[in-house]
C-alpha cells in the first residue's frame, strides 16, 4: 500500500536521494535532462537528435568521424579539444576555490585578460629561448591573476565592498586598459587583434608530429591536472582549507573559532585569481596566440556554471569542464553535419549550462520530497496502529 503512494516522488528520492551518491547522481540527472530538452529543440527543427549528438562527440574527438583529412585522426581532434579544456579547467577551479570561501568570483574573465596581456607583452614578443619563456609565461600569469584577485579580496576585507561589484568594475577597467594598449602599441593591422605571440612563448605547441599525425600539444594541461589534485588536497586535508571552508560556511563561527577571517578572504581570492591567471595564459598564449581587444572571454563566465555543475569539487570540476568543453567544441562540427546553424549549437550548450545550474534546486526538491514521504509514511504507520 505504502509504495503505491506518490510513485514518482518515491522513485525521485530513491535515485537521487542517496547521501553518498547524490553528488554524482544529481549532476548526471541534470545533464540527461538537458540533453532531453535539447533533443526536443532539435526535433522541432526536424533534425535527428541522435545524429546531432553523434556530431557533438565526433567534433570533440570522442567518436570517430567517417573520414579524416591528411595527418588528422580522432586523436588530433581530441587533443585539440583538450587544448580548449585546459583554460576552462583552470577557470572553473578559480571559481570553485572562491566559492568554498563564501565568495563569488565573477571576475575570472578580467583576471584571465590581465594575465594574458601581461604575459603577452612581457614574454610573448621577446626572443627568450622556449625553455625560459614558457615557464615565465606561467609565472607571470599566476602573479598577474593573483594580484587582481588579491585586490578584490582586499577591497572586500578592508572596505566591505561586495566582490561581485568590484569584480565587474575591475573587469571593465582591465578590458579597456588592455584595449587601449593593444590599439596603441601592439595591434596587428590586418586582424585588428594584438600581434601573435612567438612560438617560444606559446603554451600550446603547434605542428607537432606524432607518427603520421600532425597535432597541437597543450602543455598547460598537465599543470591543470596537477592543480586539480593540489586543490583537492588543499581543500580537504589542510589547515588552510579547513579555515577557508569555515569562513565560507559561517563567518561568525569562524571568527569565534579564532580564524583570521579577513586574511582568509584575501588569500582565497588571491588563489582564485592565480588560477584565473593560469586560465588566461593558457587561453591567450595557448589556445589562441593573440588577444581580441574590447571583449572578455566568455569562458570566464561559463566557468561559473561549470564550477557549480562540478559542485565546487575539484574532481567534479574535472569532469564538468570536460563535458562543457566537449559540447562547445563539438558543436561546430555538429552544425555542419546535421545542418543546423551555429547558433542552435550554442543554444544547446546554453541549455546544458542552464540545467546544470539547477542542481541546487533539484537537491532541494529531493530533500523536500524525502521529508514529505517520511511524514506520509509516519501518518500511515500511526493510522495503521489506530
Amino acid at each position: 500500500m505504502n509504495h503505491r503512494t506518490h510513485p514518482v516522488k518515491r522513485a525521485f528520492v530513491k535515485v537521487l536521494g542517496g547521501r553518498r551518491t547524490q553528488s554524482v547522481a544529481i549532476p548526471i540527472f541534470c545533464i540527461v535532462l538537458s540533453l532531453l530538452a535539447a533533443a526536443i529543440v532539435l526535433l522541432c527543427l526536424g533534425k535527428n537528435p541522435l545524429q546531432a549528438y553523434a556530431g557533438l562527440l565526433q567534433g570533440s574527438g570522442l567518436f570517430p568521424k567517417d573520414s579524416y583529412a591528411a595527418h588528422r585522426s580522432i586523436l588530433t581532434d581530441f587533443i585539440s579539444m583538450v587544448d580548449n579544456w585546459t583554460p576552462m579547467l583552470f577557470a572553473a577551479l578559480a571559481v570553485a576555490i572562491a566559492n568554498k570561501g563564501g565568495l563569488f568570483n565573477i571576475g575570472v574573465s578580467g583576471q584571465m585578460l590581465a594575465a594574458g596581456f601581461t604575459a603577452t607583452v612581457l614574454i610573448g614578443y621577446s626572443d627568450l629561448p622556449a625553455v625560459v619563456a614558457k615557464p615565465l609565461v606561467f609565472v607571470i600569469g599566476i602573479v598577474a591573476g593573483a594580484l587582481v584577485g588579491a585586490l578584490i579580496g582586499f577591497l572586500k576585507q578592508r572596505f566591505n565592498i561586495n566582490e561581485v561589484v568590484s569584480s565587474i568594475m575591475i573587469n571593465y577597467i582591465i578590458q579597456y586598459i588592455v584595449s587601449f594598449f593593444i590599439y596603441t602599441y601592439y595591434v596587428d593591422p590586418i586582424s585588428r587583434q594584438s600581434r601573435a605571440v612567438g612560438a617560444n612563448a606559446r603554451l600550446t605547441l603547434q605542428q607537432v608530429s606524432i607518427g603520421d599525425l600532425n597535432t597541437v600539444l597543450p602543455i598547460g594541461f598537465v599543470l591543470a591536472v596537477v592543480c586539480v589534485f593540489v586543490l583537492r588536497f588543499l581543500m580537504n586535508r589542510t589547515k588552510f582549507g579547513f579555515e577557508l571552508k569555515a569562513v565560507g560556511a559561517n563567518k561568525r563561527a569562524a571568527r569565534y573559532a579564532g580564524i583570521p577571517v579577513g586574511s582568509r578572504i584575501v588569500l582565497s581570492m588571491t588563489i582564485s585569481g592565480a588560477l584565473g591567471g593560469l586560465a588566461g595564459v593558457t587561453y591567450y598564449l595557448g589556445y589562441y596566440a593573440s588577444i581580441q581587444p574590447r571583449t572578455l572571454a566568455d569562458m570566464g563566465f561559463d566557468s561559473i556554471a561549470v564550477a557549480l555543475l562540478g559542485n565546487s569539487n575539484p574532481v567534479g570540476i574535472f569532469f564538468s569542464s570536460f563535458l562543457i568543453t566537449a559540447i562547445s567544441k563539438g558543436s561546430t562540427y555538429m552544425s555542419s553535419t546535421v545542418g543546423v546553424q551555429q547558433e542552435i549549437a550554442s543554444l544547446i550548450t546554453g541549455i546544458i549550462l542552464l540545467f546544470s545550474a539547477c542542481s541546487a534546486f533539484i537537491r532541494y526538491l529531493v530533500e523536500k520530497y524525502r521529508v514529505q514521504l517520511e511524514e506520509a509514511d509516519k501518518a500511515m504507520a500511526e493510522g495503521g496502529k489506530a
Binding site: 569555515a246 559561517n250 563561527a253 571568527r255 579564532g258
Partner: protein, 511 residues
C-alpha cells in the same frame, strides 16, 4: 462596578505550545482610556497573551470580548478591523520606503489621474500624516526614508501606522527596549497624550519605573499565570518586583560549598561600545577566582552579551583592562585569548558556536584543529578528528550523529553538548557560559548545570551570564547584577534573595 465600561475583556485564556503552557487561565479586563501594563519576566507569557489579542494566535480555551461583543480574532487584519493596533518589539518597516509609503502600505489611497489612471495619492497621504503627527505630538517628516531616520522615529512611524488605521486599542511590546533614556521619556509623554486623546493602551514591559510613571493599572504574569492586578498609584515598585519574581525554585542543583583559589579573571574598568558608538558596558570591574561561579544577572540587553564578547575578543574594548591568570588580554586576538585560557560558550549556538554544515568531529575540534594531533605541518589528520570525537561523544553523551556526519540535523540539546564538550576539553582556566541552557529541556539543562559545577569543583573560574534568575540563584557562588551597562551590585550569592536580585535587575535598587 463590575459592569464598568470595559473595552477589552479576555476571559479564562489558555494557550499551549506543545507541552508548554504559555498562558494558563488568564483573565484581564481593560477599561477604555487607560494605560494598562503587563509585567512579567522573559517567557512569562505577556507577548503570547497580546499576540492572541492581535490575532497572531488563537487561544486554546477562553473568550475575548471587545466593546462587550464576543469576537474571534483569527488574523491581524481582523484585529485591525476591530481597531486594535500593535507595535512589535522588532519594527516591521520597509527600509527603503518613505515614512508615508510605510504608513499607507496595504491601504494606499487611490486617486484617478485625469479621472482614469489609478495611482497612489502620496501627496494627500503626506498631508494627512503631517496632520496626524501634529495632533499627537509625533513629529516626523513624511517624505524621509526609514533607513535614514533613527530608531525612535521608526517607532513613531509604527505608532502613526496604527493611528492611520484608526486604532483605538494600542498594544506596545517592550517599546523602550531599543531607546535611550531621553527617548524613553519622550515616548512615555506620547503614551500619556495618546491616553488623554481617548486611546486605550496596553504596555508590555519588565521595567518597573516606566510602569510607575505612566500606567494606571498593572497586571503581573508569572510563568503563564496571572498573579495579581494592581493599582499602580497605590503600589510600590518593590511589591511589584516581588510579585514578578517571587516563586518557588523549580529544582535545586546539588552543589558543594565553593573553595576559592587565586584570581583568574580580572576585569578592570571595562568599557565597550556597540556599532552605533553607544556605550553598552560602562566601567565594569570584577574578579572571578578559581573554583568560583560568578553569575551575571540582568534583563536582556543590559550589556551582558557585550561583556562576554569583549572578554573573548569578539568585540573590541573601548577602555579598561582584562587579565586572565596575569596575562593581559587587551591586545590579543580571539585565538591568542583561547590559548591564554579562555573557553567561551556563546549565546547563539547555531550562528556562532557551531558550523552546522561541518561534521561533528570537525565541530568538536573547531578551536584546536590547527594543533597536534589534528594537524601536523599544516596537514590535517582526519583520523585524529574521529578519534577525538568518539571520546567526547561517549564522555558527554552526545547523540544523533556519527563523527563524520553534519551537526545541522541534531537537536538543540545535543548541539549545545557539542559546544560544552569542546570548550571544557580545552581545559581553560576560565570558562564563560552565556545563556547555556536557553531553549533546552529540563534533562539537558540539568546536564549542563552539572558540567558547569563540576568544572568549578575542578578549580576552574566560571563566568555565567544568564537571563534566567533560577539558573543564577541555583548555580552562582557570587552574583553580579548588570543594569544599563553597569555592574550595579556584586555580592556573595547566599547574601542575596531572588527578590533582591530582581530589584537590582529592574534598577529599583542601586548600591
Amino acid at each position: 462596578m463590575e459592569q464598568e465600561d470595559y473595552i477589552i475583556e479576555m476571559r479564562h485564556i489558555t494557550k499551549r505550545f506543545g507541552a508548554v503552557v504559555a498562558n494558563d487561565d488568564v483573565s484581564i479586563s481593560v477599561r477604555k482610556g487607560e494605560i494598562y501594563a503587563l509585567l512579567g519576566e522573559n517567557g512569562a507569557g505577556k507577548s503570547t497573551l497580546m499576540s492572541m489579542l492581535f490575532g497572531m494566535y488563537e487561544p486554546d480555551e477562553g473568550e475575548i470580548y471587545i466593546r462587550g461583543q464576543k469576537v474571534r480574532i483569527h488574523s491581524p487584519n481582523q484585529a485591525t478591523k476591530l481597531n486594535i493596533g500593535m507595535v512589535h518589539q522588532h519594527f516591521k518597516l520597509v527600509q527603503n520606503y518613505t515614512i508615508t509609503e510605510n504608513i499607507v502600505l496595504g491601504i494606499e489611497p487611490i486617486r484617478r489621474k485625469f479621472g482614469l489612471f489609478p495611482c497612489v495619492d502620496l501627496k494627500g497621504a503626506n498631508e494627512k500624516i503631517r496632520a496626524l503627527s501634529k495632533a499627537y505630538g509625533l513629529e516626523v517628516e513624511p517624505t524621509e526614508k526609514i533607513e535614514d531616520v533613527s530608531v525612535s522615529i521608526q517607532q513613531r512611524v509604527e505608532i502613526l501606522k496604527m493611528l492611520y488605521r484608526n486604532a483605538e486599542i494600542l498594544i506596545f511590546d517592550e517599546p523602550t527596549a531599543v531607546l535611550t533614556p531621553q527617548e524613553i521619556e519622550f515616548l512615555l509623554e506620547i503614551l500619556r497624550s495618546l491616553r488623554d486623546g481617548g486611546k486605550t493602551i496596553i504596555l508590555i514591559t519588565h521595567k518597573l519605573e516606566e510602569i510607575k510613571k505612566v500606567a494606571d493599572r498593572c497586571a503581573i504574569l508569572c510563568r503563564g499565570k496571572l498573579v495579581d492586578v494592581l493599582d499602580v498609584a497605590t503600589t510600590s515598585t518593590k511589591k511589584m518586583a516581588n510579585l514578578m519574581v517571587g516563586r518557588d525554585v523549580s529544582f535545586v542543583v546539588d552543589k558543594k560549598p565553593p573553595k576559592f583559589g587565586d584570581v583568574v579573571l580580572d576585569v578592570k574598568d571595562l568599557c565597550v561600545e556597540n556599532r552605533d558608538h553607544f556605550d553598552v558596558v560602562k566601567h565594569v570591574s570584577f574578579q572571578v577566582h578559581a573554583g568560583e561561579i560568578f553569575a551575571v544577572a540582568g534583563v536582556a540587553g543590559n550589556g551582558q552579551g557585550e561583556l562576554a564578547d569583549a572578554i573573548a575578543g569578539l568585540t573590541p574594548q573601548k577602555a579598561g583592562k582584562i587579565t586572565v591568570n596575569g596575562t593581559d588580554l587587551t591586545n590579543l586576538g580571539v585565538r591568542a585569548r583561547t590559548k591564554a585560557g579562555v573557553s567561551y560558550i556563546p549565546e547563539d549556538r547555531q550562528a556562532v558556536g557551531l558550523i552546522l554544515d561541518f561534521s561533528l568531529g570537525e565541530n568538536l575540534a573547531l578551536k584546536s584543529y590547527g594543533d597536534p594531533p589534528f594537524c601536523e605541518h599544516g596537514v590535517l589528520k582526519p583520523d585524529a578528528f574521529v578519534e577525538h570525537a568518539k571520546g567526547l561523544i561517549s564522555d558527554y553523551d552526545i547523540r544523533g550523529q556519527k563523527p563524520e556526519g553534519p551537526v545541522r540535523p541534531m537537536s538543540g540539546g545535543n548541539q549545545q553538548k557539542i559546544i560544552v564538550a569542546r570548550e571544557i576539553d580545552l581545559e581553560s582556566p576560565l570558562m564563560i557560559f552565556v545563556q547555556p541552557t536557553r531553549g533546552l529541556d529540563i534533562g539537558a539543562i540539568e546536564n549542563i548545570h552539572k558540567r558547569m559545577i563540576a568544572e568549578r569543583d575542578k578549580g576552574k573560574a566560571v563566568l555565567l551570564i544568564s537571563l534566567e534568575l533560577d539558573e543564577i540563584m541555583n548555580c552562582a557562588d557570587t552574583i553580579g547584577v548588570m543594569y544599563n551597562g553597569e555592574m550595579t551590585k556584586i555580592a556573595a550569592a547566599d547574601t542575596l534573595t531572588a527578590n533582591e536580585v530582581g530589584e537590582f535587575m529592574m534598577g529599583v535598587k542601586a548600591q
